[in-house]
């Protein structure tokens, strides 16, 4: 579904990604691990066209992803969450989720200003869909609350709901359980596993929480200093000397 070849990104003199390559099969759940600064988020930003790649190729469903404009990514079925929450704090939780379905709507400035019947129908449909996603993620009770000032774990779920509202085929999660308590991490892992089945999602997840990665992912890619240093099933990568060295310094 997703093929990354020789992807290179430089910021000034720093090479953030250095010829990284891996593939994600349809329906797979791939964990992207590596120490801080390894280039994981940069890779995500490349996939969503936030950063320009200096070299390499990304193919998504037989399409050159790097040739697409940033706002078209959602329409191609790619959803994403952010490392440090990318919510819209002055909008309600429901509105946040409805923005996630932005590319499923047609209403423009003029038709919206005139409140044409089809705009009203579309609005009702988007609202219904958003409410369904909110109910699925146990967020119905906070639907009218601003997407700020809620517990961190709840806000993380709101972000997931917003990404799901776009009905993605490929879901990119950037540290989804960072900052959550033990119980919350387990609950999130359960939810994610269930959603993956229900919605036949393909998931790429950046995460430091090894328990979470080992428990949910069927493949793991490890980056260090912008290079791929290991790839394979979780238990194999976990034992890989290069990975251990990257995390702990010189292998003991």
């Amino acid at each position: 579904m997703l093929e990354v070849h020789e992807l290179t990104v430089r910021f000034g003199g720093i090479t953030a990604l250095d010829g990284v390559g891996f593939t994600v099969a349809r329906g797979a759940m791939v964990g992207l691990i590596g120490p801080n600064g390894a280039g994981k988020t940069t890779l995500f930003n490349c996939l969503t066209r936030r950063h320009r790649a200096d070299g390499g190729e990304v193919r998504y469903e037989d399409r050159d992803l790097l040739a697409e404009p940033p706002h078209a990514i959602a329409g191609l079925g790619i959803g994403r969450t952010f490392q440090n929450l990318g919510l819209f704090p002055r909008m309600s939780v429901r509105e946040n989720v409805m923005v996630g379905a932005h590319h499923h709507g047609r209403a423009g400035f003029l038709t919206a200003a005139l409140r044409l019947p089809r705009v009203r129908r579309e609005e009702a449909r988007l609202r219904e869909e958003a409410d369904a996603v909110l109910a699925r993620l146990d967020l119905a009770a906070v639907a009218d609350h601003p997407a700020a000032g809620l517990p961190f774990g709840t806000l993380k779920r709101v972000e997931l709901a917003r990404a799901l509202a776009g009905r993605p085929r490929l879901l990119l999660l950037d540290e989804p359980v960072n900052g959550l308590s033990h119980g919350e991490v387990d609950a999130f892992a359960d939810t994610l596993r269930a959603l993956r089945e229900e919605l036949s999602l393909t998931v790429v997840v950046v995460e430091h929480h090894m328990g979470f990665v080992m428990g949910t992912c069927d493949r793991v890619v490890c980056l260090d200093f912008g290079r791929r240093i290991a790839e394979g099933p979780p238990e194999e990568v976990q034992r890989d000397p290069a990975v251990i060295e990257a995390y702990l310094g010189t292998a003991a």
């Binding site: 990318g86 409805m98 409140r115 705009v119 988007l126």
Partner: protein, 333 residues
């Protein structure tokens, strides 16, 4: 509103609040319709001007409060509407009802053209560019004397009330402006509670996330600018109807700054911010003139500072807080 109450989605307490709000709105509308028959013509004229500024501030609120951009040049779009209307009536002899949509369309087109910087610039940089638009307007108006009347401006006949209405001129102008203001309010409201309004809010709150959700940033920013200019242009047209005279000195940089100050004081992004801002823009300068004839600017400035201290979220925020604590007192008692 009625359908909202019917679903009971917000629970029993907000349903009561919605009924109160409905009652208040009805009462306000009645008062607004009765006002021109109770007040002397000069007061009616003042209220009409409040509505004119309200329309302009609805536009500015769309851009600044909801779109998260800034404009120090909205006086220029106001002037485009005002002068456009004057020229259409003076040189073209157009009947006045046609000039409102025409002036709005012209302001929209110019806003769309000048909205290009809005797609690339942020904050102070955008403020500077829009300020330049306002600065450059007055000399331009004086330059094309044959069309604009130069420094002398253009004097026009005000719209006459039709015989069937039985209204005086000031009352007729008041109701024309009121109808336009209600239309602007409705259009703006529909826009904001739609997919487009959400997209604007998303761009304001977090551009990066908005783009990942598929919102085209440049398009929305530029359209917000153009729509905002359109409201300002429509307000300019109403201004010409009401005053019957345009001259370059009415549209200096001061107007742009007063509009922005009025909006911030009324309440950025608040539903009633533009109306409260309109009241402020209309009454406070003349009020400060009454307090001290020598330095109205000082009093005006001081009042702005005081309001921002007492109500950092604007008058709309203050009203909301007052209503909130009033409601709490009622429940306790």
């Amino acid at each position: 509103m009625a359908e909202r109450r019917g679903t009971g989605r917000r629970g029993p307490v907000p349903a009561v609040r919605a009924r109160w709000r409905g009652l208040l709105l009805t009462a306000a509308l009645l008062a607004v319709c009765a006002a021109p028959f109770q007040l002397v013509p000069f007061r009616v004229f003042q209220l009409t001007m409040v509505l004119v500024y309200t329309v302009a501030l609805i536009g500015l609120n769309l851009l600044v409060g909801h779109g998260g951009q800034i404009s120090l040049g909205h006086g220029a779009f106001f002037a485009v509407g005002a002068y456009g209307t004057a020229i259409m009536m003076f040189h073209g002899g157009w009947p006045y009802p046609v000039t409102l949509p025409a002036a709005a369309a012209v302001a929209f087109a110019i806003g769309l053209a000048l909205g290009v910087p809005a797609t690339r610039l942020h904050g102070l940089y955008l403020a500077l560019v829009t300020l330049a638009i306002a600065i450059f307007l007055v000399p331009l108006l004086k330059r094309f004397e044959s069309v604009t009347g130069g420094s002398m401006g253009l004097t026009l006949a005000k719209p006459r009330p039709p015989a069937w209405s039985g209204l005086a001129e000031d009352q007729w102008l008041y109701f024309l402006t009121l109808a336009a203001a209600l239309l602007a309010l409705a259009v703006n409201h529909s826009l904001l509670r739609s997919r487009v309004g959400r997209a604007l809010h998303a761009v304001r709150d977090n551009e990066t996330a908005a783009e990942v959700m598929g919102v085209r940033l440049a398009f929305h920013k530029r359209m917000a600018f153009a729509w905002s200019a359109m409201f300002a242009g429509a307000a300019g047209c109403l201004y010409t109807w009401v005053i019957g005279f345009v001259s370059p000195d009415s549209f200096t940089v001061n107007l742009s700054i007063t509009l922005l100050a009025g909006l911030v004081i009324g309440g950025l992004g608040a539903t009633w911010g533009p109306l409260l801002g309109g009241l402020f823009v209309m009454f406070v300068p003349s009020l400060s003139q009454d307090v001290n004839k020598a330095a109205p600017g000082v009093i005006f400035g001081l009042l702005i500072i005081v309001v921002m201290y007492v109500a950092p979220t604007g008058l709309a925020g203050l009203v909301r807080r007052a209503a909130h604590s009033f409601g709490r007192t009622l429940r306790k008692g």
